[in-house]
């Protein structure tokens, strides 16, 4: 890049950046705004930007459903699925990164290709499997499915992060007498920690927002926050105020969490680019 960028280009890029950011953020902004409106204000045309905020939607949402029950399920499912996925992905990525064979590349591509299949394509078999193993409407069942759907991406990401760790450092560990386990836990993992953290974060976000399997595999006992939102979308027609309040409540924790850890996330995602 040239040392001096033209001022006009810089202003242009800034405007474009803000434009895209606002474009992406607008739905969330509007959702939050709507959640503080009364039901009448929520559907009024033209939409109102300035109004008397009210918490009525929130109180009704809390009265009608046990938010904490759903939130707890989501936390259990996302954290559980992420932890198991990372535990499985570390050895997989290790062997692919440091002991590649002729089939490594093919395996990686094949794993990624499973993400290209629309989930509904395997809905029936997975539903039947879950039913026969008595995992329907359980946190375990949902966590297993979430974990498996995210595993390819997690392996893939860890693989790229591990590839950044110079092999001689691990070999030095082996020469120093480290077993594979010690080599992994005492040398590799500390070095790849930023990458693992951002991978885990991404997995958490994906699990948190996952709706398809949540809606199909749970009903009440293990229903997570996505099911909580859905429960406000149908029965008596659409109530945008309550729907927005429920949605805001559902995404707020992960939004805050993401905001706090965004530095880590960006660092992890651009790990290979810098250096």
């Amino acid at each position: 890049m040239a040392l001096k960028t033209k001022t006009s280009t810089r202003i242009g890029v800034t405007i474009l950046g803000w434009g895209i950011a606002l474009w992406l953020f607008f739905p969330i902004f509007w959702m939050i705004l709507t959640s503080f409106k009364s039901e009448v204000q929520a559907i009024s045309t033209p939409p109102k930007l300035f109004f008397m905020p009210t918490l009525s939607s929130y109180t009704e949402v809390f009265e009608r459903a046990n938010y904490w029950h759903f939130a707890l399920n989501t936390v259990i499912v996302s954290v559980g699925a992420t932890a198991v996925a990372i535990a499985l992905a570390v050895p997989a990525a290790y062997s692919m990164a440091f002991m590649p064979s002729k089939r490594t590349r093919g395996t990686l591509l094949w794993m990624l290709s499973t993400r290209m299949l629309p989930p509904v394509g395997v809905l029936v078999p997975i539903y039947i499997l879950a039913r026969n193993t008595h995992l329907l409407d359980t946190c375990t069942g949902l966590a297993i499915v979430d974990m498996l759907t995210n595993l390819p991406i997690i392996v893939w990401m860890l693989y790229t992060f591990f590839r950044e760790v110079p092999a001689p450092i691990l070999e030095a560990g082996r020469m120093d007498g480290a077993t594979r386990w010690q080599e992994t836990t005492m040398v590799l993992l500390p070095l790849a920690l930023p990458g693992i953290a951002s991978t885990a974060l991404l997995s958490l976000i994906l699990c948190w927002n996952e709706a398809f399997w949540s809606l199909n595999l749970t009903s009440s006992h293990a229903a997570p926050l996505t099911a909580f939102i859905a429960s406000f979308s149908s029965p008596e027609g659409l109530f945008f105020g309550k729907l927005s309040a429920a949605s805001t409540l559902a995404v707020a924790p992960i939004l805050v969490f993401g905001w706090i850890s965004q530095k880590q996330l960006v660092r992890g995602l651009t790990f290979g680019a810098v250096k």
Binding site: P166, P168, I169, E171, A172, G173, R174, M175, D176, G177, A178, Q182, M186, V187, P190, L191
Partner: protein, 367 residues
């Protein structure tokens, strides 16, 4: 201290054989250098000894014990890597402590050892620094220190100086030699730099394409290269070669006819060679003598003045270039005609298959 023995060691990657049956014995306290062009298999061979690469076939013995299937950490070796391979997340102290800790050595003993080694290598002020805060030379010292504290039977070095600048490389070379004398440990050292090989080794192993070309002391390789490859590889600037016709030989020497018709009687034996065979004559630039007139004349094309010495590149009538290393103060200039004298005792003869003829007299320093 220990001996290392390689018996017909082979390594195959997929279908390609990289190490093609290498046998070698390394004595106690010996400093052995593996040298060769890139891709010759020297690093692979070292990594096989280290245990970082599997051995496809053959036996590897350390102190007389077969270690083919012993874990790298249990072979009693320590390795210094080209990239140093320090643990970036640990400070210098912890880097050196890692191996000791894994071996279950008590804390007090570890501390004493590390402090002793740090003093030897002048690393004391940096014990709390992370590798990222150190210069290249300091990192190199830490890598060496990490190897020394483990008190290994054999030290392995994989091109340890190639990431340093020229001045530091020279300094570290001397330090490593001194360290080897002090510790007296068996050492295997891989390099592509022949200066390192010549200056540090007790024994040099010249490798090419996974095969040993010659094993010998530095001066043995210099004075009595076994074939064209070794003759070309050892010595800088490299040996001059030109073709000649074999005329006949006896017990005291062999006579060849050079391209310009002159004859040369070289003190090497040539049993069974038929007169009329094409052979190669080799002579080192430092052995060719310049004369203002006489046979073998050519035109000076380039002069490289290095101060102490001068390299004169002479274009011969048949188009070949012969490099002459001479005095720094020589007055010869470009485009002048000079004559070359080839002292027969310094000439080497190579058969058509590249193998050198046996010299009638061994050089006193290469006995």
């Amino acid at each position: 201290m220990a001996t290392v023995e390689l018996k017909n060691l082979r390594k195959t990657y997929l279908t390609e054989e990289i190490i093609k049956g290498i046998s070698l014995s390394i004595e106690e306290r010996e400093f052995v250098v593996f040298v060769g062009p890139s891709g010759c298999g020297k690093s692979t061979l070292l990594r096989m000894i280290a245990g970082l690469e599997d051995i496809t076939s053959g036996d590897l013995l350390i102190d007389g014990q077969l270690v083919n299937n012993v874990e790298p950490g249990k072979r009693g070796l320590a390795m210094v890597f080209q990239s140093y391979a320090l643990y970036p997340h640990m400070n210098v102290y912890k880097n050196m402590e890692f191996g000791l800790k894994l071996s279950g050595m008590p804390e007090a003993e570890r501390r004493a050892k590390i402090e002793h080694v740090a003093r030897t290598l002048q690393l004391e002020p940096y014990l709390n620094h992370k590798p990222g805060q150190l210069s290249g030379g300091q990192r190199q010292r830490v890598a060496i220190g990490r190897a020394i504290v483990r008190n290994p039977k054999v030290f392995l070095f994989d091109e340890p100086l190639s990431n340093l600048d020229a001045a530091l490389r020279g300094q570290m070379r001397v330090e490593l030699s001194a360290l080897h004398r002090k510790l007296g440990a068996t050492t295997i050292y891989v390099t592509h730099d022949q200066v390192e090989a010549m200056t540090m080794a007790d024994k040099i192993v010249v490798l090419q394409k996974g095969v040993v070309e010659q094993i010998g002391s530095p001066l043995e390789l210099y004075h009595h290269p076994r074939n064209l490859f070794v003759a070309r590889f050892i010595g800088s600037p490299p040996m001059n070669f030109f073709s000649a016709i074999f005329q006949g030989g006896d017990a005291a020497g062999s006579s060849v006819q050079l391209r310009d018709g002159s004859s040369l009687y070289v003190p090497v034996t040539s049993p069974g060679l038929l007169p009329g065979t094409k052979v190669t004559v080799g002579i080192r630039p430092e052995h060719v003598e310049l004369a203002s007139s006489g046979p073998n004349s050519g035109v000076v094309e380039v002069i490289e003045r290095l101060g102490a010495i001068t390299l004169v590149h002479v274009r011969m009538p048949d188009g070949e270039i012969i490099v002459v290393q001479t005095d720094g103060a020589v007055l010869t200039d470009v485009d002048t005609r000079v004559s070359l004298t080839l002292p027969p005792r310094n000439c080497h003869l190579f058969a058509p298959d590249g193998v050198a003829f046996e010299a009638c007299h061994r050089h006193p320093l290469a006995a």
